[in-house]
Structure formats: C-alpha cells, structure tokens
C-alpha cells in the first residue's frame, strides 16, 4: 500500500517536535552565560558566519540570546500552562460535581475572567504580584484556565448523567471505581489536549507582557525583552535584532500548536481521516 500511514507519521512527528523543543530548552540553559557576555569590539554586527543572528549594540551574540530567551519562554510556558490546567481541572470538576451555588459561583467567575481582555488581566495580575518572574507566572497562569475549565465542566456534567454510569452505580460499582474506570479515561485526553494547547497561548502572553514592561526584568534574556529593546534600533536599520528572535519564537509556538493538534487527532479517533 502506497498511502503513508497517518498514525505512524503522527507519532514520528510528535517525537521529533518534542526532541526539538527539548533541545532548544537545554541549549538555552547552557548558553545562558554566553548570552550575557558583552564585547564592544564586535557590536552591531549583521548576521555572519560567527554570529548567525548578528550582535547587538553591546556586542552580545543574538543567537545565544535568542536561544536563552526561547528556553526561558518554554520553561515559563510549561510552568504556567501546567498551573493553569490544574486550576482548570479542579474548578471544572468542582463546578460540575457540586452544582448549585458552587457551579453558579465558578461559572460567574469564569465569565468575569473571560470578560476582561486577556492582556489587561495579565497586566493587572502581574502588577498585583510586583511584576518580574512571579508577576508573569501568576498573571499568565491565573488568566488562561477558563476555557479548559468550561470544557472539563461540560464533560463531567455529561458523564454524570450518562446512562452507563448510572447503570454502574445501580450495579454497586464503588464511587472510586466509577471515577477510575469511567470518568478518568474520558477526562484524561481532554485534559492532556487542553494542557498542550495552552502552551502556545501561555508563551505568547508571557512574551507580550514582558514586551510591554510588565514581565520578566530587562536583565533577563527573554524574547519579550530582546524585541522591546530592538525597537529602539529598528529605524537605524538593525533589522536582525527583531527578525530572528521573533521568527524563532513563532517557530517554537507553531511547534507547540502542531503538537497539541496532533495529540488531539491521536486521542480523538473520529478525526482520523482528516
């Protein structure tokens, strides 16, 4: 059969993407010191063989800075997306399991968070935590859980009234076994997919908030900081300061988005023929 087996290629892609992202993260950590080295003898170099992404006005290697920034972005993204997904899981399950005023309160809260433009909410949260690393992490983590919480709430609500669960209860299957056998297998794929799909948003918002000056401090080689600094030098023609770090960020986010998309396809058998 000449047709390429889609599932196999999906798994292959997942492996490659994860390895690539892991490599960037590790390389960034290793290059953290190199990213901070200033050398005025080599300042403002356009991209060349020694410095693939060029150097900035302090002679710092933009390639090292970009990698270090990406690594930082990925790590902050993992942390915030993880917290966000956990918040979503807890609130979604609570909301559906208890119903009544708990549900009303959580639903109202979700509406509240969704009603404030995301970036403003992250700014407010970050200010409340005194900006910096804590500010960004709290800001992004506490503003991205809403849609996943809604999904989980809906899923649990649906499962609660599913005939086979009611039947299991009548058959005397214990509460824990019902949760383990019937609830978790349904929730886990939703949760995992939701978690991975959170990464791109988390990374983008971290970069955005840092770019605006409410996030990671300017000593950090964060992508937001790099791009914010590049603005001052754009008009003098130093295009490489903005182009490469931004493009690299887009690449990382695209990889995460594709990863999420593929995992969703893999976990949802109905879409196998897409």
């Amino acid at each position: 059969m000449k047709r390429v087996n889609r599932r196999f290629s999906t798994l292959l892609f997942l492996g490659i993407a994860a390895a690539l992202l892991g490599a960037v993260t590790l390389a960034g950590i290793c290059l953290k010191d190199a990213a901070l080295v200033t050398d005025f003898s080599r300042k403002d170099l356009p991209p060349c063989q020694g410095f693939l992404f060029g150097t900035d006005w302090m002679g710092r290697d933009m390639f090292a800075r970009t990698l270090a920034g990406l690594s930082l972005s990925i790590r902050v993204g993992l942390l915030t997306a993880g917290i966000s997904a956990c918040v979503a899981l807890v609130l979604g399950v609570l909301s559906a399991a208890f119903g009544g005023w708990v549900d009303a309160l959580i639903s109202w809260w979700i509406d509240l968070v969704m009603g404030t433009p995301h970036i403003l909410l992250v700014i407010l949260l970050s200010i409340a935590c005194g900006k910096g690393f804590t500010g960004v992490v709290v800001g992004v983590a506490l503003s991205h859980w809403t849609s996943l919480a809604r999904v989980i709430r809906g899923e649990v609500l649906q499962l609660k009234t599913a005939p086979y669960l009611l039947a299991a209860e009548k058959l005397g299957v214990s509460r824990w076994n019902r949760v383990k056998l019937h609830l978790l297998p349904h929730l886990l794929p939703q949760f995992l997919t939701g978690l991975i799909l959170l990464f791109p948003h988390a990374i983008l918002h971290e970069a955005s908030v840092t770019f605006l000056g409410f996030g990671l401090s300017s000593e950090q080689p964060a992508v937001g900081v790099i791009l914010s600094e590049s603005m001052r030098y754009l008009t003098t023609g130093k295009w490489w300061l903005a182009l490469f770090p931004g493009a690299a960020l887009v690449l990382v986010v695209v990889l995460f988005a594709l990863l999420g998309e593929r995992v969703r396809l893999l976990l949802d058998p109905g879409s196998v023929h897409e």
């Binding site: 059969m1 047709r3 087996n5 599932r7 196999f8 058998p269 196998v272 023929h273």
Partner: protein, 311 residues
C-alpha cells in the same frame, strides 16, 4: 420493456483504520445484483447497518471519499458513471429522504425547492408540485421547523417530483408518521410507479415493504440473500431461511423470532454469513463464496433453498 436500472455485482467498501496502525478495506455491500422495471416498486429490506442506505448513495454518487465502488450499474441501458449521475440527479434520478433534517433549516420551503432559480416558471413548478401533495401555496413561505412531520414528508415528495423522474429512491421515508399518514405516503410512491417510474423503497420494516412493494430484495450482512415477489411471503414460497425467519417474526406469520444477531459485513470471512443461525445448514455452507442464483421465479443466495438441495 427495457428495465430502468440494472445493478450487476455491485460492491462497496471502505478504507478504514483498525487498532493501531493496521489499515484495511471494509466491505459494506457485496455482490449486489438487482433490476428495476418501470411501473414497479422494489423494496430493499435490511436492518440498520446492513448497508442499504449506501446503495441509495451509490446510485446518487454521494458515497464518502474513502469508499470504493465496484461492479456495473446501467441506467436505461447505459452505464451510470459519476459524470452521468451528476447530470441526471435531481431530474431523472431523485431521492426522497427520511425527514425534516434533510431541509436547510434556515431557508424557506419555496426557495429551497426552486434550487436558486427565481423565474416565474420555477415558482409555478413549485406551486404545482406542492399542490399535488395537498400543500397550499402558503407552505412555500414556511421554514422547515414550522412544518409538521407529515407536511415535511409531503414537501420532500414534492421536491422529488419537480421534473417527472424515472427512478425514485426512497430511503426510510416514513419513520415518525402515524399509520394513516404513512399509508398515504406509500400510496404516493405506488402512484409514481403507476406513472411509469421505477421506485426503490429502502426500509427496515418488512410490513411496510410488503404494503408498498411489488418485489422485495432482502439484505443480510451486506449481501442480497433473496429477491422475492411480495406475494411469495403470505403464500409460503420463500427461498432463504433468513427471509422465512423475518416473515415468521411477524404477527401474520408464526410470530416467532430466531436467536442470534446479524454479523457486520467485515466479520464475515468465508461461506454463508447466515450459517451460524441457519435452522438447516448442510454440506459446503461454510466454504467459498455463494452466488445469487435464480430459483423458483425469484433469486436466492443459498445452497439449500427452502430446505431442499439445489439441483
């Protein structure tokens, strides 16, 4: 008279993923042969999942992209290719579907039947088609959700007869109708046949099929196991044990059900798919492919029709 439709050895299969990385071809209809004469209503009888709706879709070139069609279909003596179907469907070959979900929920009945034409001729055609089924002109100005079940069915009938069709395919057109409305609808199909069209009436309900059809083709696990005249049923001239079992399950018959369930067509490996439930299996039933053969003025796919050994 020349038959309107001749289906010869039609097979339809799907390309599918099994567990893990295994892909396979899943046959849904196997070796189907059927001839439709003008003036005749032919019932196609099968449980849900036996692939009978796919037959309708194949005749209208509406099969999903991951399916494959084999065999020959002749319409008025000429091969029915995809290109030809696209020219004929909606005019000479028409579909009467199940119910109101087959109408665009956001479009009024009139514009929907006119297929985008606005001229006076089209309006007049819609008016007369609706009038034929007792619907007033005002019905053209209603949205589908405002139609009752019976009205929706009559609108669907009207949509089919806009350009006097030669082949009418009805796919389970009666569910949800009360007995009176259903029998009126069946009358409409016989009326179309009397005007010279061939009607293919797909259903899972034997009583319904016997009430409307002149001949009945019975599906079992993707295969036609028997083609019988409607009169063969009460007269005890059935050929295949499955058809007999269907008749026996009716109150008019012995009112007795047989045990077991129909296999999916993908599960049938070799031999007769009915073997496991057959009351009188014999030598050779478990091997090879059985073919549909003439027997006693009908067709049957069985080595021992009516319990006798085939000559």
């Amino acid at each position: 008279m020349e038959p309107i439709l001749e289906i010869q050895h039609l097979s339809i299969s799907f390309h599918q993923y099994e567990k893990g990385f295994v892909q396979r071809e899943l046959p849904v209809i196997r070796d189907l042969s059927l001839t439709l004469e003008p003036g005749e209503v032919t019932g196609v009888l099968g449980v849900s999942g036996s692939g009978k709706s796919l037959l309708a879709h194949a005749l209208l070139d509406l099969l999903p992209y991951n399916s494959r069609r084999e065999g020959t279909i002749l319409f008025q003596g000429e091969p029915l290719t995809s290109q030809r179907i696209r020219k004929l469907r909606g005019k000479e070959i028409v579909l009467v579907p199940q119910g109101v979900t087959y109408l665009d929920p956001l479009m009024k009945v009139g514009p929907q039947l006119r297929k985008g034409r606005r001229d006076r001729g089209a309006r007049e055609k819609v008016r007369s088609a609706l009038a034929r089924y007792g619907l007033k002109e005002a019905a053209a100005d209603l949205y589908p959700f405002q139609l009752s079940g019976g009205m929706a069915r009559r609108v669907l009938m009207a949509s089919a007869v806009m350009d006097s069709p030669r082949l009418v395919i009805a796919d389970e057109p009666t569910p949800g109708l009360d007995a009176k409305a259903a029998s009126r609808l069946l009358g409409h199909f016989r009326e179309l046949a009397a005007e010279g069209a061939a009607v293919l009436f797909i259903t899972h309900d034997l009583e319904l099929a016997l009430a409307v059809a002149h001949r009945v083709a019975v599906f079992y696990a993707g295969e036609t196991v028997e083609i019988a005249r409607a009169s063969d049923f009460p007269e005890g001239r059935l050929r295949h044990p499955f058809t007999q079992a269907l008749w026996d399950a009716l109150p008019q018959g012995a009112f007795r059900a047989i045990p077991g369930a129909q296999p999916y067509s993908g599960e049938v490996k070799e031999g007769c798919p009915f073997l496991a439930r057959c009351p009188h299996p014999g030598n050779g039933c478990g091997q090879g492919e059985l073919s549909l053969v003439p027997w006693n003025e009908g067709m049957v796919r069985c080595l021992y029709p009516h319990g006798e050994v085939m000559a």
